[in-house]
Point group: C2
Chain length 351, copies 2
């Protein structure tokens, strides 16, 4: 893109402040960076001059010498998915931004297509992100919505960039900080709830199984069965994704493979919406014939009829904790940390 316009007029420099305050640049710099080694007199003069001149430090100049940018990146590796179709993304952003409020770090948003083959451009996108991040644009990165095989986190880590992942990495050997919700526990709780209420044929509409969250929720479904000594049968599982269409399609397949299903755990509320619509069309009553449990406690869960029993994740807290972990690393903390946030079942009318 051509950027041939003359830039805006520059503001006053540190030099100007120094002259106005009758001190040297160093002293001004000390005041600005909050060094204690400044006399009250000098400090006062400098502060007054800064105020009067409306001085604002030039971040580029500062960054050039400190080798810090004051920016952390939030990388979203999947612009097409549920990250944007639900309040999920907004909640994470809010959490992150809250945790960073008292810092003067800024948040840069990087959207990158998913890794191949989901996105043909994914490879190219990854390079773009890596260039940006490793080229010194950011001091650290928060990674969201990764697929299992994505080399991005490993590359960034190898280059020494502080990184925090949303969700446990698929390869446990990766020494990285992450924050995850207890998806497995949530999946188990949802399933056990249906089992405990007397359902005999509880199926599952999974999320994408190449994402750890999708996998974990399914594992929880297995756990709950195992805990009761119940077998899990393949015809009670239908692979879906987090979308309404995906949920609807999976529900149709499930109705075919297991017509006697009387309960179903769905990977997301939005997918559950699709499932509910299919059930209604098939003449199955919810919850009388089939009980349904969703995931996320999004606004959808309260909109549908009957209101959806769902597993709530503390999404905003997830964002906040990620930011805290990254801040800790930026502050010099050497060891990585892993956090699992509890999920819990919200029982409503659907099952």
């Amino acid at each position: 893109m051509p950027l041939d316009d003359p830039p805006r007029a520059p503001g006053p420099t540190l030099e100007a402040v120094a002259r106005a305050a009758g001190v040297s640049r160093s002293t001004v710099s000390r005041v600005v960076t909050g060094s204690p080694r400044v006399s009250p007199t000098a400090r006062h003069a400098v502060e007054e001059a800064i105020e009067r001149l409306g001085y604002v430090p030039n971040p580029a100049a500062r960054s050039l010498v400190t080798r810090r940018t004051g920016t952390v990146a939030l990388v979203v590796r999947e612009p097409e998915s549920r990250v944007f179709d639900e309040p999920f993304f907004g909640a994470v952003v809010r959490g992150v931004s809250q945790a960073m409020a008292r810092t003067d770090l800024q948040l840069a948003l990087l959207l990158a297509g998913a890794s191949p083959p989901d996105d043909p451009d994914g490879e190219h996108e990854r390079r773009r992100i890596e260039r940006f991040l490793l080229g010194g644009h950011a001091d650290g990165a928060l990674l969201l919505s990764l697929h299992a095989d994505d080399p991005l986190p490993r590359d960034l880590l190898a280059a020494g960039l502080p990184v925090v992942l949303a969700g446990r990495p698929s390869t446990p050997d990766l020494d990285v900080s992450w924050v995850d919700a207890d998806n497995r526990g949530g999946g188990a709780a949802a399933t056990e709830h249906l089992l405990a209420s007397g359902r005999r044929r509880v199926g599952v509409l999974t999320g994408p199984l190449d994402m750890v969250a999708g996998r974990d929720r399914l594992d929880g479904y297995h756990d709950a069965h195992a805990a009761r000594g119940l077998p899990v049968v393949p015809d009670l599982q239908a692979r879906g994704d987090f979308t309404r269409e995906g949920g609807a399609a999976a529900m149709m397949r499930l109705l075919t493979s297991a017509p006697d299903v009387d309960g179903v755990v769905v990977a997301s509320d939005v997918a559950a919406l699709g499932a509910l619509q299919v059930l209604a069309a098939a003449g199955r009553r919810v919850p009388e014939d089939v009980a349904v449990v969703g995931f996320d406690d999004s606004i959808v869960a309260r909109s549908v009829q009957p209101a959806l029993t769902t597993v709530r994740q503390p999404v905003e807290e997830l964002g906040a904790r990620m930011a805290q972990l990254l801040l800790a690393r930026l502050a010099g903390e050497a060891t990585t940390q892993q956090v699992v946030l509890p999920t819990h079942l919200v029982v409503r009318d659907s099952g």
Copy 2:
């Protein structure tokens, strides 16, 4: 926050590339910035060296001399509101980011509380934002979710920062680029739809009236009445906001002031959800007794029973157009531009 850690190891500099390629720094710089004044031989040698060394330009150093940051800011002036409770925000972000994909501009996200009195910290927040923006952190700004009295856009404009607003500014004297949805037309279409279907007492649950979008939707409601020579009566209007709670409360008031209401236009789908719940609790059938029309065509509109007739806004396009307008200004375009995107009614079962 203490940031006492040694920064990461620096990559190769332009100097190193120059040595490796056997040319001067200037020549490398010309290659990197895409200047035509370079011999094919030199260019080739430089490109080879860049590739071999994995050179990435230091953005701070570049920014220091060019006075451009390569960053545009997306400022969201209202972290608590519907911006985050719905896919609205995500859709805008996606649109913006799409339009910026082929550029190498980056997106910085600034969340700032609303302006006072909605947010006691708003004043302080505004200063923070202004310092960031005017301190040279970004080349331009996209402003989202402004309230009518917010001085932020005027301040930024006065300082010469390229700015694009989401939504028409409340003060028409502001010479600024903006992109708006035709909220007024949408409000009129929704109202006329109810009127045309034979409703005689059509009420409205407004959004916040200190936001232009809220005002416009209400004006559209008036327009539709005026077009039919119908009077608008105060008891058919209840002030609400964009939230479920706000919609529910307003609906309750409306039922009190106008018990015979037979149609209602609601400022957002989420607010409409609240209204539907109140109507159900009051024993009113939708759409038989009261028809309801929402705004936004969010996922909620498809989740509720009956499915919500709603006004769709091209939110993603709104983001994209905003970005395009800003890019134009950054490219030297002097004149401001104003864009109004069409909205349209999506008729479903609720009215």
